[in-house]
């Protein structure tokens, strides 16, 4: 086995050869513990940037976070001169990959920047200037470096609208941006020699890619047919050993396990509630009963006090409709409901059916607040929520049954369309 490169962060930074023509020129950030507020990392991260040398010029693929620009430039200078740089590719414009861009553009003014179509307004906002030229590219476009060719694949929402992957055809290397990346810092760099980063890989997917599973699947249809000798992501280990395993893992993670339990033509409706004196629970049970009366709707009833949040998030991801029951206490919905609702940004909720109900003692604002939150999360809320003062009467319980029935009908597309004149609305 060839000798492994050893990088000490105390030494003068050097580029690391990945092939005769490709070098890693990124930076290590072992002290980072929190990334973008939403992600923790127990051993830091890396900002991976790369150089590709062709017979007619050099390409830089991504840069690093601004604080680490000095490491990036020192590594870059160890393998190229600025006047050789013909192309700068930005796979993703988030500042941890573009922090050194303004200075790189200053040092290599002749270089042409290549970004995705969707990245144009972001690039202008990032650089706060309009007087520079760049080339927007889409899937199928490529740029030649003479005997090396870079081909572009637009992979939107992995994990920003602008994200793209860049493929070095002659060496079957995919520069994947944040896709297949993770926050894991190890100076040994390569996936077959670094420490165990499986947790970091899965954790990164769960927080960064999971909300965009549909887009991940679309991107995989572009990337899977490629021959892949190596995947070089923008964070974490460089995937030279069995890169296809990571593509396969993304595929597995992007398909819902729960779906396989549900028959074709069946829809799932989840009812979550929390109750202090049993009144919101009674409402939940009546709604459950009403929803059960519609064929092909699989209804489930959950007490929020009975579980941690994470399994509920998994359930909601696979569900077609969600109904929340919350009492109103001191003019607000209760904390366990908000805790669950604030945990849903890691999944795609768009167009799921939503509804709210709850018992209250004074004014009952909680229901409307949660309805607004559901709309903000892009759920459909077709039926106004039900609020009942304290203990539901038999009549009010029947209203709850009807609410559940209507929600289930809506889920199945069986609810009667409503026509109203605006003058009749308050």
């Amino acid at each position: 086995m060839s000798k492994l490169p050893v990088l000490s962060i105390d030494n003068i930074p050097q580029a690391v050869a990945l092939s005769d023509r490709v070098h890693w020129v990124g930076a290590l950030d072992p002290n980072l513990r929190n990334f973008d507020i939403i992600l923790k990392t127990a051993n830091g991260t890396s900002y991976n940037a790369y150089i590709v040398r062709g017979s007619e010029g050099v390409a830089i693929i991504d840069t690093v976070k601004e604080n680490f620009a000095s490491d990036f430039f020192t590594r870059l200078e160890s393998v190229t001169h600025y006047d050789e740089i013909k192309v700068i590719v930005l796979n993703h414009l988030e500042p941890d990959h573009t922090g050194a861009l303004p200075e790189l553009m200053r040092r290599a003014p002749q270089a042409r920047v290549y970004i995705s179509q969707k990245a144009q307004s972001m690039l202008k906002a990032l650089l706060k200037q309009d007087d520079f030229e760049f080339t927007p590219v889409i899937t199928g476009d490529s740029v030649s470096l003479g005997d090396r060719t870079l081909q572009f694949f637009h992979t939107p929402y992995l994990h920003w609208p602008d994200t793209q992957c860049t493929y070095l055809q002659e060496e079957a290397i995919l520069f994947s941006g944040d896709v297949f990346g993770c926050h894991f810092c190890d100076s040994r760099l390569f996936n077959d020699v670094v420490g165990d980063f499986r947790f970091s890989f899965e954790y990164y997917y769960a927080h960064i890619m999971r909300p965009f599973k549909d887009y991940v699947n679309r991107a995989l249809t572009l990337l899977e047919p490629l021959k892949l000798n190596t995947i070089l992501p923008a964070h974490g280990p460089l995937l030279r050993d069995q890169p296809q395993r990571y593509v396969q893992r993304y595929k597995e993670l992007s398909h819902s396990a729960l779906q396989s339990e549900i028959s074709v033509g069946e829809k799932t409706l989840l009812i979550f509630y929390i109750s202090s004196y049993g009144n919101t629970r009674r409402m939940a049970e009546a709604i459950y009963e009403g929803a059960m009366s519609v064929e092909h709707v699989r209804v489930s009833l959950y007490d929020l006090e009975g579980s941690e949040i994470s399994p509920f998030v998994d359930l909601i991801e696979g569900a077609d409709g969600i109904i929340f029951g919350t009492p109103t206490i001191n003019g607000d919905a209760v904390k366990p409901v908000w805790d669950l609702l604030s945990s849903l940004t890691v999944i795609n909720l768009k167009s799921k059916l939503g509804g709210v109900f709850g018992s209250y003692g004074w004014t009952g604002e909680g229901v409307k607040m949660v309805e607004d939150r559901l709309r903000g999360l892009k759920l459909r809320v077709p039926i106004p929520g039900i609020r009942i003062k304290l203990i539901p009467t038999e009549e009010e319980t029947q209203l709850c049954r009807e609410f559940g029935h209507e929600m289930a009908l809506d889920l199945m597309g069986l609810r009667q369309a409503k026509v109203i004149d605006i003058a009749d609305l308050a």
Binding site: R380, V381, I420, D421
Partner: protein, 95 residues
């Protein structure tokens, strides 16, 4: 006065409203999922997909076009706080 018929597809509700009414006013009253922020054509929160009847809405102003572009709005998108109904049939849904 001319009236328009506006269907909010997310909640399957059709509303008849007089010409000149802004989409957001109707949407708010019937509880469609079109969310909003400033209601002044500045924040882009109320971007709405027009699935039918594009020509039955007032034309977008230069400022609305600018906000739509900045927010990377797709084809046939409008700001619900700026678009006024003119008549005929219109179908919309939240983006």
């Amino acid at each position: 006065m001319a009236k328009a018929s506006i269907t909010f597809e997310d909640i399957n509700v059709t509303v008849t409203a007089p010409a000149g009414t802004r989409l957001i006013e109707i949407s708010e009253k019937v509880g469609s999922g079109i969310t909003y922020g400033c209601r002044e054509g500045d924040c882009g929160t109320c971007i709405t997909k027009v699935t039918e009847g594009w020509n039955n809405l007032t034309e977008p102003s230069v400022l609305e076009d600018k906000i739509l572009r900045e927010n990377m709005a797709g084809k046939h998108n409008r700001l619900a706080c700026q678009a006024q109904v003119l008549g005929g049939t219109i179908k919309v849904k939240p983006v």
